[in-house]
C-alpha cells in the first residue's frame, strides 16, 4: 500500500470507528452492555 493511500485509509477508519461508536451509544447499546456486564447470567459464562 502506498504511503498516501495508507494514511488516507487509516484516517477514514478512525473516523468510521468513532462515528460507529457514537451511533451505538446513541442507540442505547452502551446501556445494554452495562446492564449485561454487572449481572452474572450464569449460562452466558459457562456455569451450569
Amino acid at each position: 500500500m502506498s504511503c498516501g493511500k495508507k494514511a488516507a485509509a487509516q484516517v477514514a477508519l478512525l473516523m468510521a470507528g468513532a462515528a460507529m461508536l457514537c451511533f451505538g451509544v446513541w442507540r442505547g447499546e452502551a446501556a445494554t452492555v452495562l446492564s449485561k456486564a454487572i449481572k452474572l447470567c450464569l449460562e452466558c459464562v459457562g456455569i451450569g
Binding site: 449481572k39 447470567c41 450464569l42 449460562e43 451450569g48
Partner: protein, 319 residues
C-alpha cells in the same frame, strides 16, 4: 537497572492503589451489607449454630473493648449519662460512635480513627446479635446459663457476614399491572412462596419462564404461589416494565411479577444478587427456607433442590 526499578515501583504503586481504592469502597459496602445480610452464603440453620455464632460475636465485642482499655475509659467518661443509651433504631455501637464524635478532640487522629472503626464493628455485631436473638429466642437463655466455652479458632478475621438474614426483606410495591403488593400479606397468604429473580436480557432466566408458570399452577393447588422479580423493573421503570410484560406474554407466564424501590431493604437485597437466575423459597412467616437456588430450575439438580425446599416449607406449615 534504572528502568527496571522504575517499572517495579510503578507496578507496586498500582497494586497498592488497587487494593486500597477498592478495599475502602468495598469495606463500606461490607459494613452496610452485614446490616442487611448477604443472600449468597448460608445462615445458621439450627439453634446450636446460632448459639455458637452468638457467643463468637460477644467474644469479639469484648475483645475490641479490652484491646484499648484506656482509650475506651476516656470514651466512657465522656458519655452523657443523662442521655438514653438505646434510642430508637440505634444500638450500643452507635451510642459509642456518637460519644466518640463528641469527644473527638480528646484523641489523636490515629486513636480517633481506630476507635471509630471498632465502634462501627461493635455496631454491626450488635445488629447481628439482635437478629439472632429475634430468630432464636432460646439462645438468650442458654448463653446466660451455659458455660462460655471459647470456640476453637474463633474466626474474627472473617466476621460471619453469612446473612443471619433469615427473613426475606419486607417490601411494599406493585405488580406489573399496577396492583399494590405487600410482602407480609403475600407471604402470610400462602403456605409457601417461591420468589424468582430474573432480568429481561438473561437468556436462561427467560428460558425457564414457562416452567415457572407451570410450577405456579402446581403450587396453587397446594396453597402456595410463585412470584417473579425482574430487576430491571425496580423503581417502576416504564420501558423495562413493558418489555418485561412483553417477554412474559410471549412465554405464556401469567404469574405475578412485582417491583419495588431499589433503595429500600428489599431493593438493597436485590442489588446484592448478581448471579441469575436466583430462586428463593419463602415460608408463611416470611422466612427464607434453605439456601437460594442459583441457576435455571429447568436443570435437574436445581429442580430437585427446589422441590425439596418446597416440600420442607409445606411440611413445616402443616406442623
Amino acid at each position: 537497572m534504572n528502568m527496571k526499578r522504575i517499572f517495579a515501583l510503578a507496578f507496586a504503586v498500582l497494586m497498592v492503589l488497587a487494593l486500597a481504592a477498592c478495599g475502602a469502597k468495598d469495606n463500606d459496602k461490607q459494613a452496610d451489607m452485614s446490616g442487611d445480610g448477604s443472600a449468597m452464603t448460608g445462615e445458621p440453620k439450627t439453634a446450636e449454630e446460632a448459639l455458637t455464632l452468638h457467643k463468637e460475636l460477644l467474644e469479639r465485642e469484648n475483645a475490641l473493648l479490652s484491646e484499648n482499655a484506656e482509650l475506651w475509659e476516656k470514651v466512657f467518661m465522656e458519655a452523657d449519662k443523662g442521655m438514653a443509651m438505646i434510642e430508637d433504631g440505634k444500638n450500643y455501637g452507635d451510642f459509642l460512635l456518637d460519644t466518640i464524635e463528641g469527644a473527638k478532640d480528646q484523641f489523636t487522629d490515629e486513636e480517633y480513627e481506630m476507635l471509630k472503626e471498632s465502634a462501627t464493628e461493635i455496631s454491626n455485631i450488635e445488629n447481628k446479635l439482635t437478629e439472632l436473638e429475634e430468630k432464636y429466642p432460646e439462645i438468650m437463655q442458654e448463653s446466660i446459663d451455659g458455660a462460655m466455652s471459647v470456640p476453637a479458632g474463633s474466626d474474627t478475621s472473617t466476621p460471619p457476614d453469612d446473612g443471619s438474614m433469615q427473613k426475606f426483606p419486607a417490601f411494599e410495591g406493585k405488580d406489573l399491572d399496577g396492583n399494590t403488593v405487600k410482602s407480609d400479606e403475600l407471604f402470610s397468604g400462602n403456605a409457601v412462596t417461591v420468589v424468582n429473580f430474573w432480568f429481561t436480557t438473561c437468556n436462561p432466566c427467560v428460558g425457564e419462564l414457562s416452567e415457572l408458570d407451570a410450577l405456579n399452577k402446581e403450587l396453587a393447588e397446594k396453597g402456595g404461589s410463585l412470584i417473579g422479580i425482574n430487576t430491571f423493573t425496580l423503581d417502576g421503570d416504564e420501558t423495562a416494565i413493558s418489555e418485561a410484560k412483553d417477554v412474559l406474554a410471549k412465554k405464556g407466564a401469567t404469574y405475578q411479577n412485582v417491583y419495588f424501590d431499589s433503595d429500600g431493604e428489599a431493593g438493597k437485597f436485590t442489588t446484592n444478587i448478581f448471579a441469575y437466575p436466583t430462586t428463593y423459597v419463602v415460608d408463611r412467616n416470611g422466612n427464607i427456607v434453605g439456601d437460594p437456588i442459583v441457576g435455571a430450575i429447568t436443570e435437574k439438580k436445581q429442580a430437585e433442590t427446589l422441590q425439596k425446599l418446597i416440600e420442607q416449607a409445606l411440611a413445616a406449615d402443616v406442623g
